[in-house]
């Protein structure tokens, strides 16, 4: 969820009234925002860099407001104020129009086919007759940055360039060239560089180095020229210095280059509509027609068609009753790219009505509950295993390769484990294939507890399985360990007998269960047995191998049991 920082007094001035912190918090809640923090520049610097650095900083009060991730129109002071004012009936929902320049000739951006291989889309617009103040200018720059970080996915999907139109002349050309052939003076530099030189220059730039990978390995880099060959920008990395905007800039040329055309259009609409109040200008509007009955039915209210049109208008969705039945025509301004279905309009009506004013009703849905049989078996068995004197442990499903292989004296290739491609640490390399390592780690972390330690866990492990659509499946396991000064094989064996009794399986070769000597590198030679139920192997029990005990940083003998539960369903 993006956070927008605005100066409180500036915000109140724009809203036309002041609020207490509590009142503003309440307003945010109703509108689906969250007043996350009340702070100041001074406080932020002092917290992050210490008091000494903060001494000169401003102590103007800042509101940090959390904005829903799809409401790009609320990412700057201008949009926030517009949204809240319309919501509170203080302002009519704005209607955006495109206007032609005085000479009637629109600017043109020509896209060449070379861009297809690197960054195929570009859209552009001009904000004319804008009046910047320092605050507006800062907000304009900050909105670009917020859009870059959110919808633009760190410039990978869309990159925005803004230029002083009066320093350049159209038509503009968006093309792609080998890095050696691009040469210009980039923003805030004193001399010209080729694109190749720029890429190495920015390797150490704390801000720009994060974007280099987007085009770094491409044979040709995107670049925008004006009709005189002046470089406007090399998206998505840097603009040219020549066309940079300043406080005195009157006409702003905005270009968005992209790998996703829909998002490029959304971003351009945002840039333009948010700052249109400081100039005269325009855009495209889409229309939705829906019935008030739809909204009443989905929300669970009963309001007149006129009232619903009013509710929607308060959400900046200019709405009119058409007179055909209960039909409402809704104008979706370019600021509201999140509206893509009638249900989005329905939500806005519900918000304007106030979620907490909607009557809470009970659905009449009649159903009979069923437990998932495997979970039912697990729940019942857990109770009785605790009654048998064993304590339940709860361990992670993810672990290191070492845990399920080396430490147990096994090879990772023999485990059927699924592997994670992007673990941040070794703890998340694989999904566990056995519950035993988790229980042994729990024992190791509790060596100070009085002996014996008797633990169990019933949970899922994950195994590769070709027959499943995803190539893997869970397997429900029961595992128990007994840790004491003597191995206590008879204790674990007794727990197996008790478990079989609970599962109504008799001790009998062939028709019931039996155990028989087995070789397993996890266990001490001659102290391991395989568990068979109706002739099928379901697991093993035995005394752990001293090497295994050592690898888990334990010091006492330990016996263990692990078996599948699914055969008992």
């Amino acid at each position: 969820m993006p956070t927008v920082g605005v100066k409180r007094d500036l915000l109140f001035k724009a809203l036309g009234r002041t609020y207490t912190d509590e009142e503003f918090d309440e307003l945010c809640f109703e509108f689906g925002l969250e007043l996350d923090e009340i702070t100041s520049e001074k406080e932020i610097i002092s917290r992050e860099q210490g008091d000494s650095k903060a001494s000169g900083a401003s102590d103007i009060i800042l509101y940090k407001i959390d904005v829903p991730a799809n409401r790009y129109d609320l990412l700057c002071l201008e949009g926030l104020v517009r949204g809240l004012k319309v919501f509170k009936n203080k302002l009519e929902a704005p209607r955006y129009r495109r206007v032609s320049p005085a000479n009637g000739e629109p600017q043109r951006l020509i896209i060449t086919k070379e861009t297809a291989a690197v960054r195929p889309y570009a859209v552009a617009a001009v904000l004319r007759n804008i009046t910047f103040t320092q605050e507006r200018y800062d907000s304009f720059i900050e909105l670009q940055e917020k859009l870059h970080q959110n919808i633009c996915r760190k410039r990978s999907l869309v990159a925005i360039g803004t230029h002083d139109l009066d320093t350049i002349s159209g038509p503009f050309t968006y093309t792609a060239k080998p890095p050696g052939d691009i040469c210009f003076k980039p923003l805030n530099q004193t001399k010209e560089y080729t694109a190749t030189q720029l890429m190495s220059l920015y390797k150490t730039d704390s801000h720009l180095r994060h974007y280099l990978h987007i085009i770094e390995d491409k044979p040709a880099y995107p670049v925008i020229y004006d009709s005189n060959g002046v470089v406007l920008s090399m998206p998505p990395i840097i603009n040219g210095d020549h066309s940079k905007i300043a406080l005195k800039t009157k006409n702003v040329f905005i270009e968005c280059t992209a790998t996703d055309l829909t998002k490029a259009k959304t971003v351009l609409d945002m840039m333009v509509t948010m700052f249109s109040e400081y100039c005269f200008f325009s855009a495209l509007i889409t229309w939705f027609k829906l019935s008030s009955e739809f909204i009443n039915r989905k929300v669970g209210i009963n309001e007149s068609t006129e009232k619903i049109a009013q509710l929607l208008t308060r959400m900046c969705l200019l709405s009119q009753v058409t007179g055909v039945g209960d039909e409402i025509e809704v104008e979706i301004p370019p600021t509201r790219s999140d509206v893509i279905h009638a249900c989005d309009i329905m939500e806005d009506a519900a918000m304007a009505y106030g979620f907490n004013n909607i009557p809470r009703t009970t659905p009449r849905t009649y159903t009979v509950a069923n437990q998932f049989p495997l979970n039912k078996l697990t729940e019942l068995l857990r109770q009785d295993l605790a009654a048998a004197g064993f304590t339940e442990a709860l361990n992670f499903a993810l672990c290191s390769q070492e845990d399920i292989a080396d430490k147990l004296g096994k090879k990772i290739a023999d485990t059927r484990a699924v592997h994670i491609s992007n673990p941040k640490t070794a703890e998340f390399q694989v999904a566990r294939t056995t519950l035993l390592p988790g229980l042994l780690k729990t024992v190791a972390a509790n060596r100070k507890m009085p002996l014996p330690l008797k633990l169990f866990e019933i949970s899922d492990v994950v195994l590769k399985d070709e027959t499943k659509d995803v190539g893997a499946r869970n397997s429900r396991r029961f595992c128990a360990v007994y840790y004491n000064k003597s191995p206590g094989f008879e204790v674990i064996h007794g727990l197996l007998d008790r478990t079989m009794q609970l599962l109504e399986v008799k001790s009998a070769r062939g028709t019931g269960y039996h155990i028989q000597a087995a070789d397993d590198s996890t266990f001490f030679p001659g102290r391991c047995a395989e568990i068979f139920v109706s002739g099928k192997s379901v697991g093993r029990l035995g005394v752990l191998h001293p090497d295994v005990i050592n690898r888990f940083e334990l010091t006492m003998p330990c016996s263990a049991l692990e078996m599948d539960l699914e055969p008992f369903l």
Binding site: F29, G32, E34, P68, A69, N70, L157, D260, L261, K263, R297, K298, V299, G300, I340, H341, C343, M346, M351, F355, N356, I358, R360, T362, P363, T367, V368, A369, N370, Q371, F372, N375, G389, T391, E392, A393, L394, N395, F396, A397, L398, V418, I420, K424, E427, F428, A431, G438, T442, N446, F456, D460, V462, K464, D469, V470, G471, A472, R473, N474
Partner: protein, 505 residues
Amino acid sequence: MADTGVVETLLQRIEKVDDGVDSLEVASSLGVDHQVIVGAVKSLQALGDVISAELRSSKRWELTEEGTEIAEQGSHEARVFSSIPLEGLGQSELMKLSFGKIGFSKAMSNKWIRVDKAHEGGPRIFRTVEKIEDQVREKLLLVKKGDMTQLEEKEKNELKKRKLLSEVTVKSYWISKGNSFSTTVTKQEAELTPEMIANGSWKEKKFKPYNFEALGVAPDCGHLHPLMKVRTQFRQIFLEMGFTEMPTNNFIESSFWNFDSLFQPQQHPARDQHDTFFLSDPALAHEFPQDYLERVKKVHSEGGFGSQGYKYDWKIEEAQKNILRTHTTAVSARMLYKLAQQKFTPVKYFSIDRVFRNETLDATHLAEFHQIEGVVADYGLTLGDLMGILHQFFTKLGITKLRFKPAYNPYTEPSMEVFSYHEGLKKWVEVGNSGVFRPEMLLPMGLPEDVSVIAWGLSLERPTMIKYGINNIRELVGHKVNLQMVYDSPICRLDSKSVHQVGVL
């Protein structure tokens, strides 16, 4: 049992008096250590109500070691005086005596002696009075006799300052007859035995009383994990409300079911390497319901079902990527798809199981946690129905004050965050998320157009941490838990008002 002789003597003493005796006095009159009498009192108390003993403490002045010496031999100054013969004594001679130094200055200030510094052979000391009165010694003798009344407070403090007296607290018992007083003591039995029951001898015996202040012996037992106890309760609540449990035993999921089927676009940040665990083996899922997949692709890239869609180039390669599921809603999607393949009947589903996030870890975030999810699908469900059912659900957790905040979620519209009023914190806290599944998710599955699906979710760990007062999630889940915490955790009643916590959420 203490010395029987002492016990009997003590009982005889008590019998003779009307009110009672003081243990200190008894000790001094019998010439035994006070502790011996205390031992006798304790053993008599253990027999029941033979005697009544009241613990008393009093302050008493006692002579210090130096004070005792003075009481016996006189004060230092008096001893100086008496060691000076009529012809006087050389000062250096005097100073050799153990009491010389202190006694000299005191005797000087009392004007009992004088120094002739000009005397031939060095300074010499002479008596100035014929007779002295050693008041210090007399006062100390009074204290020793226990006769403090003649000493003034000022005098006591003076002696205390000279470290001759000290004030001590003395504990003694005031012993009087109990309700079943007797001068003869019968031996008490520790426990009832099978023999006593068989021959009836228990009727004549006296039994040692139990100490009900002590704790019992801890039973030898196993314990359930607190998080699982809370899970059992949540399961119970859903079952009471008629919800059927979903089969969530598939941690590995394809991006298709985890994201695409939920209308979550392929560029969504949740699908980043930073947020989701991807698999390298098996890297891809290989089987999808083909016609459904085509409809999902279309609704993302072109729209349809009344939607404009996201209008981007939807790629099967992204959908195939296997991941560790990031939410159990992936299973809900599978279940709703399955439901859509039959003649529609209303359903209520729930699940509580593990989900995985490749997030930055801290005191409240782990890479895996349990998600609780509830889903209702029926004709004509409203947003009001969702709020109503949430109200019923949370009431079962003991939470009745709820309010809802508009929120954003890619697969629900409307989306609402659920807040409850926390009586302890005196503020509204978020307790869950909820919403109505988008038509772009439901209609490609083939569900009837007038069916709505409402859903909500919350984590299992958070209410458990609050319920059991745990601040760090690693103390609750995983191998680093302290087993003592597991052993000691009480049963879980989510709606109980009797617990110390103020509500579970």
